[in-house]
């Protein structure tokens, strides 16, 4: 998805760009607008967290532990007196790497393998699907351990491990979807125009099989972030004291009474990300398919 390209190109170059920009804005409904705003904020937080949260995320201040939200600390402090808001902002990058990376990996590889299984010969299909079954039966924790054993610890490897454990679901869904789409006449036509079969699949089947997969993916992001937290205990993923939403979630789980912001903050961040991606995803889909309204005729 070439997400960022859409917005700027929609702004016509006129003598009064501000007016034009406003007009463009007005054409985008409120929901997607807010969602885009959230995504932009997330991007800023991931790239230059210092801009949004000047306070250092790891500065321990035991005297001010578990301070309530207020002007000094927007969302209060944790048990070590670290600023929760700042930790949330600074944790964005690692969290997104794990959450989006793993989901993206599962989505991308799942779509390709699923489409391959659906369109290739029966033998290939059978082999791929049985391998998927094996992967499905393989506990995620063990998978993570294997990844550590083979590749060593690290955030990237955690992403890989989570992505792999999410993969089977996506492969199955993609295959089912591609079985439907792959029979479409336009794929045959593309081959008839002299395209190699795999190009035709890549160009036609994959994008058309994608929409339900994307819905599924947005619903999986939160799970990936949470899974990331459970792996950081194994040495995969970000290590303390570096902030990461999943780890913060785990830290804050018993703290509802003492510091609600500490307990809720990371969860809300995950949710906001997933929600924003869902809304933007639907919006993009509508635009790309040239549908307007609610997609109902």
């Amino acid at each position: 998805m070439s997400v960022p390209a859409l917005v700027p190109s929609r702004t016509p170059r006129t003598a009064r760009p501000a007016v034009a920009a406003l007009a463009t804005l007005r054409r985008i409904p409120l929901g997607p607008l807010l969602a885009w705003a959230v995504l932009v904020l997330l991007a800023v937080a991931a790239l230059t967290p210092g801009l949004l949260a000047p306070q250092p995320p790891n500065a321990v201040d035991p005297v001010n532990a578990l301070a309530p939200p207020g002007s000094e600390h927007l969302l209060g402090t944790d048990q070590l007196g670290r600023d929760v808001y700042s930790r949330l902002v600074h944790g964005t990058r690692d969290s997104l790497v794990v959450g989006l990376g793993a989901t993206g990996l599962a989505l991308g590889a799942g779509a390709l393998l699923g489409v391959l299984a659906a369109t290739a010969r029966a033998v290939v299909d059978e082999v791929l699907m049985r391998l998927t079954d094996i992967l499905l039966a393989f506990p995620g924790l063990l998978l993570a351990l294997l990844v550590i054993a083979l590749l060593g610890p690290g955030t990237g490897h955690a992403t890989l491990a989570i992505g792999l454990s999410m993969l089977p679901g996506f492969v199955r869904l993609a295959r089912a979807q591609a079985l439907l789409v792959g029979r479409a006449d336009y794929v045959h036509h593309a081959v008839g125009f002299g395209q190699p079969r795999w190009t035709a699949r890549l160009r036609h089947v994959v994008p058309n099989a994608l929409p339900p997969l994307v819905v599924f993916a947005t619903l999986s992001i939160a799970g990936a972030v949470i899974a990331g937290a459970s792996l950081s205990f194994l040495g995969l993923g970000p290590q303390p004291p570096d902030p990461e939403w999943g780890a913060m979630l785990a830290e804050g789980r018993g703290q509802f009474e003492d510091a609600w912001a500490l307990a809720l903050g990371p969860g809300v961040a995950v949710l906001l990300t997933a929600a924003a991606l869902t809304v933007v995803g639907r919006d993009l889909q509508r635009r790309l398919e040239g549908r307007h309204g609610h997609g109902r005729r």
């Binding site: 479409a184 006449d185 036509h189 593309a190 008839g192 125009f193 002299g194 058309n208 398919e289």
Partner: protein
């Protein structure tokens, strides 16, 4: 209906009467809005004194509609002042072009216009009961019981996941007319009444296990199960081959004879000729002409009616244009620029300036007919010959080189139970350079299978296909496949729904070459011009095109691959006659310009007769007859061909 009562009066209606719409009748006058002061928006308005009184049959009308207007949230009204009455045992046929509002009108009669629809009517009465203020509960009580609807998309109007029997008796369950235990038996009876063979078996089958014609009958059975007073049949025969079509029409005739009032909707005049007592011709949301069936068919008054009749292929010699519209005119379905003028004016060869600025008023004609046109007196232009003499006449093909040859093609499909079904059993054909070879045959006779083998998508089990003497598809496959292209019936599924027209056509041009983007764009625009489409369509997606436009894009795309052979599988059967006419004209033109050879598959005799040089008749996977098209039509040799020709309506 109001007009029907005219029969009892002197046909002295003054077409010029400007007070035709005077609010003499307080209940029937225009309800305001921009049209309030305009003359005669509907037929009934023209005759405010018209009351539902006993007609010639002596029976009161079951359905009265006056000045019905329907609009959707986006865009203006799509039904703009329709009015009629329907008596028991009477059949009113509504014909008209695609998108003129026929189906919307039909659905409105059951309160199923859809969400976001605004329905207004001066009168909408069933059995004297006003329906305008009815709530959803009230409507539900009527649906199926008082008014039955046979939907337009018959093949997909039965729930594919429910058994036929359950679907047929659903209306009985909904209205608790027959206890559950009795319903299965009733379903069988109903199916039998509808002429479905082996009703006991069918009742337990799923829709996909029935042929198209059987499904259509089952759907009719479900619509008449509760014996409604009014039966609305929306395009009940489209996409059915002639023999099946005839049987369906017979079935409807039976219902009519049994006393049901029938509203028959079609875009095909010849289909309704058998059944209709009266015909209403719809264009742009209004009835532009209405009158007794025989008279309308024999002497069409309104230019659009005349166009419709002219567009029926098979009525005209080959080599003539069917369509009077020039490709430059806006395609059908395009909303008229303003409400002010006649909707047909932009397409009308007779239009004058006044047509575009002032709405036409109803003109009463002899023989209980009304037409809405100010140019009724003008003669209709004679059918134009195709531009230039046909490059390849029947005689020319005799000597032409053979482009595509099929020898003894056999193809079997595996059935789910493991047995094999021989879909094609030894078909041979020769397609000569520049010729159009028609393939005729009933549904399931293997036409499409032959087409797929011809384009190299399907490998025959036995037999060979050669292209210009070489085995086809060649060992190289790949780019080689471009040499034979397919235009299929269902263009919507032939196009990737996410792609724009530009990309779609560009795909056929080939990805190689890396031409500069702008030059490529120009080339694509040029390809579209070839099929009479403007560059403004380049950015549209398939769903944003009308059926006719889509079919043109499909042809443009197929031609962009510069094939030697074009295989057209039912290219026009989903289109309404006027659009179909344009596409057939286009194909003829393209053949002249490019000299491409065409394998033309259709179940429509008229279409084949009009467009083909030679014809092949298929039945059960075999060629039963072959010859020059006129020869075959004039002197059919095989009994099946004879049966086909006999079933031809009109």
């Amino acid at each position: 209906m109001a007009v029907a009562e005219e029969a009892a009066r002197p046909a002295a209606g003054s077409p010029a009467d400007p007070s035709g719409g005077s609010p003499a009748d307080p209940s029937g006058g225009p309800t305001g809005g921009p049209l309030a002061g305009a003359p005669a928006e509907s037929f009934t308005d023209a005759k405010p004194e018209a009351e539902p009184e006993p007609g010639p049959a002596g029976e009161p009308p079951v359905l009265v509609v006056e000045n019905l207007r329907v609009g959707f949230a986006r865009g203006g009204d799509v039904v703009r002042g329709v009015g009629f009455t329907l008596r028991p045992g009477e059949c009113l046929a509504v014909v008209g072009e695609s998108g003129s509002g026929k189906s919307v009108t039909a659905r409105t009669l059951l309160g199923l216009t859809g969400p976001g629809a605004a329905v207004r009517a001066d009168r909408l009465e069933l059995d004297g009961v006003d329906l305008t203020g009815l709530d959803e509960r009230g409507w539900r009580g009527l649906r199926g019981r008082r008014v039955g609807l046979v939907l337009q998309d018959a093949l997909v109007s039965l729930d594919p996941l429910r058994r036929i029997g359950t679907e047929v008796t659903e209306v009985l369950a909904n209205h608790r007319l027959v206890p559950a235990a009795r319903r299965p038996a009733r379903a069988v009876e109903l199916l039998a009444e509808a002429g479905v063979p082996e009703p006991e078996v069918r009742a337990r089958q799923y829709p996909h296990e029935l042929s198209g014609g059987q499904r259509q009958r089952a759907l009719i059975a479900s619509a008449v199960a509760a014996d409604p007073a009014v039966l609305v049949a929306d395009e009940p025969t489209t996409a059915l081959d002639v023999t099946v079509q005839a049987r369906i029409l017979d079935l409807l005739a039976e219902r009519k004879a049994a006393g049901a009032a029938l509203l028959l909707i079609s875009h095909d005049l010849s289909v309704v000729a058998r059944l209709a007592d009266r015909i209403a011709v719809m264009f742009g949301g209004a009835f532009v002409e209405e009158g007794p069936a025989a008279q309308v068919l024999a002497a069409p008054a309104h230019p659009y009616t005349r166009e419709l009749l002219a567009a029926v292929p098979g009525r005209h010699p080959r080599g003539t244009r069917l369509s009077v519209r020039s490709p430059e005119l806006p395609p059908p379905g395009t909303p008229a620029p303003a409400d002010a003028g006649c909707r047909y004016a932009p397409h009308c060869p007779l239009a004058e300036d006044a047509c575009r600025t002032r709405p036409p008023e109803p003109v009463r004609l002899a023989g209980d007919r009304v037409a809405r046109c100010r140019r009724l007196d003008r003669p209709w232009p004679a059918p134009r010959p195709a531009a230039g003499p046909p490059a390849t006449g029947p005689s020319a093909t005799d000597s032409g080189t053979v482009v595509l040859t099929a020898e003894g093609l056999v193809k079997s499909y595996r059935r789910p139970d493991g047995s094999t079904h021989r879909a094609v059993r030894g078909v041979s054909l020769r397609l000569r350079a520049g010729e159009v070879l028609g393939v005729l045959g009933e549904s399931g006779s293997g036409k499409s299978t032959v087409a797929l083998m011809a384009i190299g998508r399907l490998r025959p089990d036995a037999g060979t296909v050669t292209l210009l003497g070489e085995p086809w598809p060649g060992p190289a496959r790949g780019a080689d496949l471009r040499r034979v292209q397919l235009v299929q019936q269902d263009t919507l599924s032939a196009f990737d729904p996410r792609w724009t027209v530009e990309r779609l056509v560009g795909e056929a041009l080939g990805a190689a070459g890396r031409r500069a983007a702008r030059r490529r764009r120009e080339e694509i625009a040029g390809r579209l011009r070839l099929v009479g489409l403007g560059p403004e369509l380049l950015g549209r997606r398939p769903r944003e095109l009308s059926g006719g436009q889509r079919q043109r894009v499909a042809i443009a795309r197929a031609l962009a691959a510069e094939p030697e052979v074009l295989v057209c599988d039912e290219p026009v059967s989903a289109l309404d006659v006027s659009v179909q006419a344009q596409v057939l004209d286009l194909l003829a033109e393209v053949r002249e310009r490019t000299g491409v050879s065409v394998l033309f598959i259709s179940h429509d005799l008229g279409v084949i007769r009009h467009s083909s040089d030679r014809v092949l008749v298929m039945k059960d996977g075999e060629v039963v007859e072959e010859g020059e098209v006129e020869e075959v039509f004039a002197r059919p040799a095989h009994p099946y061909t004879r049966q086909l020709l006999a079933a031809l309506p009109g």
